[in-house]
């Protein structure tokens, strides 16, 4: 349970951080996923680039109706209301159920998203929200819609020499409806099935089903799911042809539950 030896660097500006990536360093935000992986020797990087001290890495700013959440913003900050309004309430509700408070104090929204563990909470929730991931590479910034950032199991739109700077999500109207449900064997454990449903007034409702040992499954038009949660959830999950009937049952129930909450 002790890590293999690794080098440690603490870049103080973004150019230095990108330079370390080119040299093969493993980027680390809060280290709450990478830390255990190092101890278990599931990860044995030559070097770790600690991103926590980069300028602007953590923090929330609202400008022109868009909330920009620095990648290094902790789950605990979001749980404690760092983001205002309806969107903030949604994010706080999700954050509160991530792992345990001592983990949330260091774990970050960007680290979790970039790590792309299929059971992670932000991997399930952010694809359901409008907005973009902001990526930084040697050529500058580029944006990827949150719905297309996570591509699969531990797989994202990030290139090997890019870092996640922030997520940007438009302020949501107060009348936005939201449902989120996950099954964990005990509070804080990795989810066995997570679903969320977002209904913004005037836009087609969206849903995501996740934590199924695959990337998040995005449903672009969840109107039928909102009308008949139980029947539609059964139909959608049947279409995924999950092998394990227990996981399929959890997925169905999570999706129906989230839809009922958002209805």
């Amino acid at each position: 349970m002790k890590p293999a030896a690794f080098g440690y660097d603490r870049p103080l500006d973004w150019a230095a951080a990108l330079g370390l990536l080119v040299q093969g360093a493993r980027p680390m935000a809060g280290g709450q996923s990478l830390g255990p992986m190092l101890n278990l020797r599931l990860a044995m990087p030559e070097a770790v680039a600690d991103l926590r001290h980069l300028p602007g890495f953590a923090g929330v700013a609202v400008r022109d109706g868009v909330v920009r959440i620095g990648a290094g913003t902790t789950h605990a900050a979001l749980e404690d209301g760092a983001v205002p309004g309806r969107l903030g309430a949604i994010l706080a509700g999700v954050a509160r159920r991530i792992a345990y408070r001592p983990v949330r104090n260091r774990g970050t929204i960007g680290g979790s998203l970039a790590h792309a563990d299929p059971a992670a909470d932000w991997v399930a929730v952010l694809p359901c929200l409008p907005g973009d991931a902001v990526l930084l590479g040697a050529a500058g910034e580029r944006r990827v819609p949150l719905s297309r950032f996570v591509l699969g199991v531990f797989e994202t739109a990030l290139a090997a020499d890019e870092l996640l700077l922030a997520v940007e999500i438009p302020v949501l109207p107060e009348a936005t409806r939201w449902g989120h449900w996950k099954f964990c064997r005990k509070p804080g454990e990795f989810s066995k099935a997570t679903a969320c449903v977002l209904a913004v007034p005037g836009a087609a409702p969206r849903a995501v089903l996740a934590a199924l040992d695959a990337g998040p499954c995005l449903l672009d038009d969840a109107a039928a799911l909102l009308r008949a949660p139980v029947e539609e959830a059964a139909r959608i999950v049947a279409g995924l042809a999950l092998e394990d009937p227990w996981r399929a049952a959890l997925a169905k129930r999570a999706l129906a539950q989230a839809a009922e909450m958002a209805a």
């Binding site: 349970m1 002790k2 890590p3 293999a4 030896a5 690794f6 080098g7 440690y8 603490r10 680390m28 280290g31 709450q32 830390g35 255990p36 190092l38 101890n39 278990l40 770790v48 600690d50 926590r52 605990a76 792992a99 345990y100 408070r101 001592p102 983990v103 104090n105 260091r106 005990k186 509070p187 804080g188």
Partner: protein, 155 residues
Amino acid sequence: MKRDVTLTVNGLLETVRVEPRTQLAEVLREELRLTGTHLGCEHGVCGACTVEVDGAPARSCILHAGACAGAVVRSIEGFAEDAVMVALREAFSAEHALQCGYCTPGMLVVARDIVLRLPGADAVRVREELAGNLCRCTGYQGIVHAILRVLESRR
């Protein structure tokens, strides 16, 4: 390769010569002889090693020495005179909230955070907040009662 890492532990500036991969818990236990911090699972699940880092509870097993340079750490020894911790220690004793004591340092650090951060917490919330700290002796009943006792005494 070993290098000097300087951090503040229980109010004292300390410099230790360790590898970047050394766990913070090992820095505390092996280098500084602060053996109140216990290592259990060593992958962030059991909560035994929880200490305060930069003012908030954190796992000291998945935090490595390199990342701790400049950190302000408070281990269980650093809470000896803390009023909330004194009340929690008395309540843990009165409510039989420990038997072997292995989980207790981590339990106390999290319990103190619950008392200060969630003054209105009820038994259900206390149990939810304790989900990240495993105890194999007490069945948790005594721990929950002890925390509720301190919460109620402060209302």
